[in-house]
Subunit: 537 residues, 2 copies
């Protein structure tokens, strides 16, 4: 798959800068970069024109290491007087860094060099001439490098090399042609915020140890509640480690609201509870039901229409059915943007049904009384500040990662209007893709009509299948097409997009556009790449 | 509390460098720093000797902003030709950064400037002459700065200012005198690894999108299982977002092992389950029981001895009691290092009892079959690589934060021996503290004998209380001492250490030593500071 020597450090072979006739963008960029970033400028340029080419020429599969370190100094004097040249990482270890005595200097040099590696990666991430992934099978990758942990420490040169190697094999999730997941793209302000979060290195237990972050979570959640329409932003909330845990929270809250005694007595004390969600909803609902002692059998999947939206009449029918059996409907989890089709359930119709039958509709709230355990070692009630800011007892976790700063800083940088513009652009690109492929030979849409969200679901039908009748054999062959194209995409490293089956639909591509770096040209590229990689199937 | 102008940027007033008679360490450091870090050197030095002093003199409560930006250029030529001076952030927005056309240059300048802010914070974190915290009450802090989110974007100058301001009010968790939580200290290699993790910006769903990180989790968990004694490191595991979720996993697994049908049928299909844990165990056990539909009443707290260790005979008695009632004991959660005392339950004796009654003892395993939901959109079974590396379906979450790289890189940098040395040092410091205060006037130990772990639990008894008899009034007054001392610590910002009550013991200090920056002198300082702040109570 991965051709040796075509990795992270070999700018020359990938973007054309190694060709003296074609200086390419790298050279121009280098001229600019050298002006202002003390570390990265010199190093990158040395790589572009110096050691990197040698490394590429040598063509070894060994990750280029010593070369990259040497590149920090590109003069001919030995010993040289270049910046950083006198910090010899081969003789330094973690114990030489802060808080060691005299640790400031090696620490600043080391962290700056790590940063230079990261900045190079960032720049490469957005370069369409680089690969999205340098793919290796797990066993290959395990053998490609020594990843094992040992008793003895390694020196800082080795540590910097590990950073380079890790990024060499990483997926460039910010690459303009990475479309693989719902979440793609690398936001520069978000990245800066995440670095700051790492540096602040605290957690969300209490106001005491995360004063700013707790306040920012308060401000951000209030703003979000305002946007979804709660008067004055009233209500409660908490950041959780992902959507699956959030869905579990919804289920916990619905159950606690109806039967608060469940907290002490468990499910033994309550009747059989039934939750309802659409057949296109996220699998975490079932996962949550399994974990919470409700059981997956008690999650009823409501039928969807052709576009993936929950059918309200089917919901009402199943609620009545459950009640007739003596079960207690306690939760309807509606979906606003399903995972695969990007469909929005008819929220108002669902809300009417929930109101009619007094069933909790998936809205966060009631967190604290549901989860709190009053751990006295953590949530002392005699502290000297307003304890309502100690949010830790609301969460399922004890310590909680600081997630808010990234969102908050991005929000400040973009404004609400900036997020709107980004979403509009993604919707426009989804429609652009839809308009191209809906009538294009070799493509079939999974459902008719414009996409409701940024998901575009389609099959690519290779020429050999186009002549077949619509029977089981064709289906069986079609189901194998997307996996092969996807595998080839990864092997070439040119782009990535996800596929899956759903219900009676065999494997289809699910293109979700969220990447801020994607343009019309990248959509065009994707279509052509699918055809290039799939036409012989 | 927080004196205006004494914040993050005012080096001059805090470390003595503003005093021309006393150049202090900052000046010396500056001379070194200027040599090799293009950005930070100039800027820090300008701050130390130039603009920062002016800012400090002006004494406004406004966070110093324009000054700090200007500091990037310290020459007198306007327009100057200094590095970065021509990047005017006031006219740049997030939309000018990558992936924008011509975005590389402002992006690299912006990220480098963020990094300079972070590096300054790192250096200050280890400086004993700086405050651990610049404390403000929540309402003060809310009003101190405009944290609100708005419709319109802000420019990058404002974004950089937000970064500075956020760090100004942050707790320095790496400060040598920060002892507030179990987790303290800022590791330089860990920090570098976390920055890289942020930059790689992927998640642990599948091997497909996190090839290296999935492998590193595999390697690291295997190594950890080897260390705890599983033959050949066999077994399974996963990183989870904290200990509370891990404890919930233990409970899920124990239940699933005994009654696999609970996944589909829920708790209605199983008899009443009982879990056992010590009265000193972490509150997350009860939190887990509440969430999982087991109920907190079904968690039996086993008595501990004076040192906080579970009493095996009490465990066996309570197991028999539960069985006699027709309940099913399914889990004993033993603790190796309790939260408050740092006690180790007698694991072998507990294991014997678990074996005798066939009860699951808290050990991770069986993850996947317990939690998996086979979401076809994510975990396609027809992918082209070894699917055992798609670990996502083991977790309660769907997307999962990349936590492993930080640990892995630190492990490579320190070696197992480095971690051992760190733990030994912490144990030695705990014993040092114990030896000083055990016979010192005004101190009482919460339990007798050397600390078993790095937790040292003690009361400080102010002179006015030393003459009182050991009665209820004394207890009541003693319970108010630690909260006041802690509040004063935070207001002065000199150190932080946690306190809490436990059972019939009123509020006591729980000093847990984990900070790699802490020295004997910092322990001495803590003792003197407690006396200084508490002697009048």
């Amino acid at each position: 798959m991965a051709s040796p020597g075509s990795g992270f450090w070999s700018f020359g072979s990938e973007d054309g800068s190694g060709d003296p006739e074609n200086p390419g963008t790298a050279r121009a960029w280098c001229q600019v970069a050298q002006k202002f970033t003390g570390g990265i400028g010199n190093k990158l340029c040395a790589l572009l024109y110096g050691d990197a080419e040698k490394a590429a020429e040598s063509g070894g599969s060994e990750p280029p290491r010593a070369t990259s370190r040497k590149a920090a100094c590109s003069c001919n004097q030995k010993p040289c007087s270049c910046s950083k040249a006198d910090v010899n990482y081969a003789f330094l270890h973690a114990t030489d860094l802060l808080p060691a005595c005299d640790g400031e200097r090696p620490t600043l040099a080391f962290l700056q060099d790590v940063m230079d590696i990261l900045l190079q990666y960032v720049v490469k991430s957005f370069d369409r001439s680089t690969k999205v992934i340098d793919f290796h099978y797990p066993n290959e990758l395990l053998q490609e490098y020594n990843w094992e942990l040992a008793d003895q420490p390694q020196n800082l040169e080795e540590i910097l090399m590990h950073c380079q190697t890790t990024l060499k094999y990483a997926i460039k999730t910010g690459h303009p042609r990475y479309f693989n997941q719902l979440s793609t793209g690398l936001d520069m302000v978000g990245l800066a915020a995440d670095w700051l979060t790492s540096t602040a290195n605290t957690n969300m237990f209490t106001y005491e140890i995360a004063p700013v972050f707790v306040l920012l979570e308060y401000v951000t959640l209030k703003k979000m509640r305002e946007i979804i329409g709660w008067p004055g932003g009233s209500g409660d909330g908490i950041f959780s480690p992902g959507g699956a845990i959030s869905n579990m929270y919804a289920m916990l809250i619905a159950r606690f609201k109806m039967f608060p005694e469940v907290k002490e007595k468990g499910m033994a004390a309550v009747p059989r509870l039934i939750a309802f969600t659409s057949e296109h909803s996220h699998f975490s609902l079932k996962k949550g039901a399994a974990a919470l002692g409700i059981g997956t059998d008690s999650v009823i999947l409501i039928r969807c229409d052709e576009r993936g939206k929950m059918i309200p009449s089917d919901l009402e029918r199943r609620i009545l059915e459950a009640k007739q059996k003596g079960f207690v409907p306690f939760l309807v989890s509606a979906t606003a943007g399903t995972t695969v089709y990007g469909a929005f359930d008819p929220l108002l119709a669902v809300a009417d049904i929930c109101k009619k039958y007094k069933i909790w509709m998936h809205v966060d709230g009631l967190m604290q009384s549901c989860n709190q355990m009053h751990a006295s070692y953590l949530f002392q009630q005699d502290k000297h500040y307003d304890l309502s800011y100690d949010t830790g007892d609301k969460a399922l976790q004890c310590g909680r990662h600081v997630d808010v700063f990234k969102l908050w800083l991005m929000w400040r940088a973009k404004g609400t209007t900036g997020f709107e513009a980004h979403i509009d652009k993604c919707l426009e690109l989804a429609e652009y893709l839809y308009n191209i492929i809906k009538n294009r030979e070799g493509y079939e849409m999974v459902f008719d009509g414009k996409p409701q969200h940024t998901n575009v679901c389609f099959w690519y039908v290779p020429p050999s299948l186009r002549v077949l009748e619509d029977n089981e054999e064709r289906m069986s062959r079609l189901s194998k097409v997307a996996p092969v194209i996807k595998a080839r995409m990864m092997e070439y490293g040119t782009t990535m997009v996800s596929y899956q089956p759903l219900g009676d639909k065999v494997n289809f591509f699910r293109m979700v556009i969220s990447n801020p770096a994607a343009t019309h040209q990248d959509i065009d590229f994707l279509i052509e790449e699918i055809e290039r990689l799939g036409q012989d199937l």
